[in-house]
C-alpha cells in the first residue's frame, strides 16, 4: 500500500525527501490531488497553480539530485494567503476590486519561499482585505470548516487554516492583524503563529493596517511552524519596519519544549480573559492545559492586564483609521477594477473612483473605511484616534509589567469554538468579539501562538491555547507551545486532527 503523503507533517516530508523515499513532484501531485478531491466543499483555495507548483517541484528534485537542496524544506509544498503578492499568479485579497490582478512582483515572503524551494500550490481564501473573523466577507464565497462544513473556519485567514486542517497542504502562510492567523488556528484545530511585529517582512503584503499586520506560519505542528518561520523570517531592507536582528533559534526552542519539561518557567494567566462571553467548554479545555503545564513543572500564576478590556475599542479605531488610508490606493486608475458610473456622459476621474469603490468593495470594507474616515475627521480625531493611540501605549505598558512577573502570558485563543456560517455575518460587533484575546498582541507588537488544546464538550469542536511572549522572544512561544503539544499528544495518543471527520464522506 502506498504512503498517503498528505497526512504527514512538513518535517516528516522533509525527512522523506532527504532520505530519497519520495520526490517533490510526488508530494506536490499528492496535495494537488487532495485539493481536487476535497476543495469543492471546503473552498480553501481561490486559485490553484498546478502547473507552477509542479514546475517548482521538478526544479526542486533536480536541485536535490545535484546534491544541493536550497533549504531544510526544499520540495515541501505550501499554500499562500491571497493577500501576498505572487508574481504571475493572481492576487485578489478576497476582493472584487482586485479580481484578475496578476502582480508584476513577489512579496518578500513569497520570494523567500521560492528561494527555499517550496512549491506554491495556490492562493488561499480570506475575508476581503483581511477584514473579518470568518472568511464570510470574501467576495468569492465562504471557506468551510473541515470539522463541520456548516461552520466558519475563522478569519481572516480561514482559507490557509482550512487548507492545512483538510490536509490539502502541509504548510501555509497567513497574516495576522488582530488574530487572523491565531483565531482560525484555534477553530480548525491547527497551529498558527503571529511573529514579533517586524520579524517577517511586510513587503508585498497588501496592507490592511501597517502598524498591526504581520505574516506568519499556519501549520499542523509547532515544529513545522518553527521550520517555516525560519524560512520566511528575518530582516528585509525592502520593509522599513523590518527588525535588523536575528529571529532566534526557533527549531531549537521547539526541541527543548518537546521534552515536556517546563521546570522553572513562569506562566501568567491573563485575568481579564475569562468570564462573560467565554464558552464554558473553551474555558474547561484551557484549565486542563494549565493543569498539564503545572504538572510539567511550570509555575502558573494569575496576572492582571487592566487596560486589555479597552483593547477591542482601541483596535477598532486604529485599524479602520489605517485601513481607510491604505485602501485609498484602490482608485481605479493604475490597477484593479474600473467601473463607469451609470447614466453619466464623460464621467470625471472622481466619479469613476466613487462608482468603482462602491462596486468593488464589500459591506465590511465599506463599514471600516467609513469608520476610519470618521475617527480621523477633524473634531473627532482627538476623542477617537488620538485617544486610541494613548490607550495603545497603556496596553503595551500592561504587557511590560506582566513580563516582569512571568516569562509568557496565556489565554484561550478565541472565546468560542467555530460558529455556524451566517450567524454573525451582518452583526459587526458580535463578529469583532472573536478577536478579543488576540488583539492585544497586535497592538503591542508581541509574538503569539495558538496551539490546538482539545474539543469543547458542548459541540465537540476544537479550541485553541494562546501563548504570548515579549517582543523578539518568539522562541518562548515555540518552547511553551511545543511542550503543551507534546503533553496533549501524550494524553490523546496522537494529534487532535486525527479526530476530524474524513472529508470524502462530507463531499456527498
Amino acid at each position: 500500500m502506498s504512503t498517503d503523503w498528505t497526512r504527514k507533517t512538513a518535517a516528516e516530508l522533509a525527512d522523506a525527501l532527504a532520505a530519497g523515499e519520495t520526490s517533490s513532484v510526488e508530494l506536490t501531485r499528492a496535495h494537488l490531488d487532495r485539493i481536487a478531491q476535497v476543495d469543492g466543499p471546503v473552498h480553501a483555495f481561490l486559485h490553484v497553480d498546478a502547473d507552477g507548483a509542479l514546475a517548482q517541484a521538478q526544479a526542486s528534485d533536480e536541485r536535490r539530485a545535484a546534491g544541493g537542496p536550497a533549504s531544510s524544506l526544499d520540495g515541501v509544498p505550501i499554500a499562500v494567503k491571497d493577500v501576498l503578492a505572487t508574481k504571475g499568479v493572481p492576487t485578489t485579497c478576497g476582493s472584487r476590486i482586485l479580481e484578475g490582478w496578476v502582480p508584476p512582483y513577489d512579496a518578500t515572503v513569497v520570494a523567500r519561499l521560492r528561494e527555499a524551494g517550496l512549491p506554491i500550490l495556490g492562493k488561499t481564501n480570506m475575508d476581503e482585505f483581511a477584514m473579518g473573523s470568518s472568511t464570510e466577507h470574501s467576495a468569492y464565497g465562504t471557506t468551510h470548516n473541515p470539522w463541520d462544513l456548516d461552520r466558519i473556519p475563522g478569519g481572516s485567514g480561514g482559507g490557509s487554516a482550512a487548507a492545512v486542517a483538510a490536509f490539502e497542504a502541509p504548510l501555509a502562510v497567513g497574516t495576522d492583524t488582530g488574530g487572523s492567523i491565531r483565531q482560525p488556528g484555534a477553530v480548525t484545530g491547527t497551529v498558527g503563529v503571529k511573529p514579533t511585529y517586524g520579524g517577517v517582512s511586510r513587503y508585498g503584503l497588501v496592507a490592511l493596517a501597517n502598524s498591526l499586520d504581520q505574516a506568519g506560519p499556519v501549520t499542523r505542528t509547532v515544529l513545522d511552524a518553527a521550520l517555516l518561520h525560519e524560512v520566511i523570517g528575518g530582516h528585509d531592507p525592502l520593509d522599513s519596519t523590518s527588525i535588523d536582528q536575528p529571529i532566534g533559534n526557533l527549531v531549537e526552542a521547539v526541541k527543548q519544549g518537546s521534552s515536556g519539561d517546563l521546570s522553572g518557567v513562569r506562566v501568567g494567566v491573563i485575568t481579564e480573559m475569562s468570564g462573560e462571553g467565554w464558552q464554558p467548554g473553551v474555558l474547561a479545555r484551557f484549565q486542563d492545559s494549565l493543569d498539564l503545564l503545572t504538572k510539567a513543572g511550570a509555575e502558573v500564576v494569575e496576572v492582571s492586564c487592566p487596560t486589555f478590556v479597552h483593547a477591542l475599542a482601541t483596535y477598532y479605531l486604529i485599524l479602520p483609521a489605517e485601513a481607510s488610508s491604505n485602501l485609498a490606493r484602490f482608485d481605479a486608475m493604475r490597477y484593479g477594477l474600473r467601473v463607469l458610473p451609470e447614466g453619466v456622459a464623460d464621467p470625471s476621474a472622481e466619479e469613476v473612483m466613487r462608482a468603482t469603490r462602491d462596486a468593488g468593495f464589500g459591506p465590511e470594507v465599506k463599514r471600516r473605511i467609513i469608520l476610519g474616515t470618521y475617527a480621523l475627521s477633524s473634531g473627532y480625531y482627538d476623542a477617537y484616534y488620538g485617544q486610541a493611540q494613548k490607550v495603545r501605549t497603556l496596553i503595551s505598558r500592561d504587557f511590560a509589567n506582566a513580563f516582569e512577573q512571568v516569562e509568557v502570558l496565556v489565554s484561550p485563543t478565541a472565546p468560542t469554538t467555530a460558529f455556524p456560517i451566517g450567524e454573525k455575518v451582518d452583526d459587526p460587533l458580535a463578529m469583532y468579539l472573536n478577536d478579543l484575546a488576540t488583539i492585544p498582541a497586535n497592538l503591542a507588537g508581541v509574538p503569539g501562538i495558538s496551539v490546538p488544546n482539545g474539543l469543547a464538550d458542548e459541540d465537540e469542536l476544537p479550541s485553541g491555547f494562546q501563548v504570548l511572549a515579549p517582543a523578539l522572544a518568539d522562541d518562548r512561544v515555540y518552547r511553551v507551545g511545543a511542550a503543551l503539544e507534546a503533553l496533549l499528544a501524550g494524553e490523546w495518543g496522537g494529534p487532535l486532527l486525527d479526530r476530524a471527520p474524513a472529508l470524502e464522506g462530507a463531499a456527498r
Binding site: M333, P347, A349, P363, T373, K390, R392, A444, A471
Partner: protein
C-alpha cells in the same frame, strides 16, 4: 436593543462616504448608518480611560532613520508597471478627465 444614541446620522454617513470616495446607494445608507452608530457607540468607551498625559503610540516597535545604501537597484519595467492598468496609452496610465468642462 435600546435606542442607539445619535452618534452618527444618515447624512453624516453620506458625507463620510463622500470623503472616502465611495458612492453609496440609499439602501446601503439605510443599512450602514445604524450599524456604524452601534460601532461608534461601542468604541466611545475608550474615552473613559484616563490617558491625558500618556504619549501616543503609532507603531508597536518604532524604528527611526531607516536608510538603505544609495545604489541603483532594479525596479519594474514600464510594461510591468502598466500590466494591471484598466487603460493605457503611449506607456502611460490612461485616466478619465480630471477637470470639469467649465474649468
Amino acid at each position: 436593543m435600546p435606542d442607539t444614541p445619535a452618534t452618527v446620522s444618515r447624512e453624516e454617513v453620506r458625507h463620510l462616504a463622500d470623503l472616502a470616495r465611495i458612492e453609496l446607494s440609499d439602501d446601503e445608507l439605510d443599512h450602514l448608518a445604524p450599524q456604524l452608530a452601534v460601532i461608534i457607540d461601542s468604541v466611545a468607551s475608550i474615552n473613559q480611560v484616563a490617558a491625558g498625559d500618556i504619549p501616543p503610540t503609532s507603531h508597536a516597535l518604532a524604528l527611526t532613520n531607516v536608510f538603505r545604501e544609495d545604489v541603483v537597484r532594479p525596479g519594474l519595467t514600464a510594461d510591468e508597471a502598466l500590466s494591471g492598468a484598466p487603460e493605457q496609452e503611449q506607456q502611460r496610465f490612461k485616466v478619465p478627465r480630471i477637470l470639469g468642462d467649465e474649468q
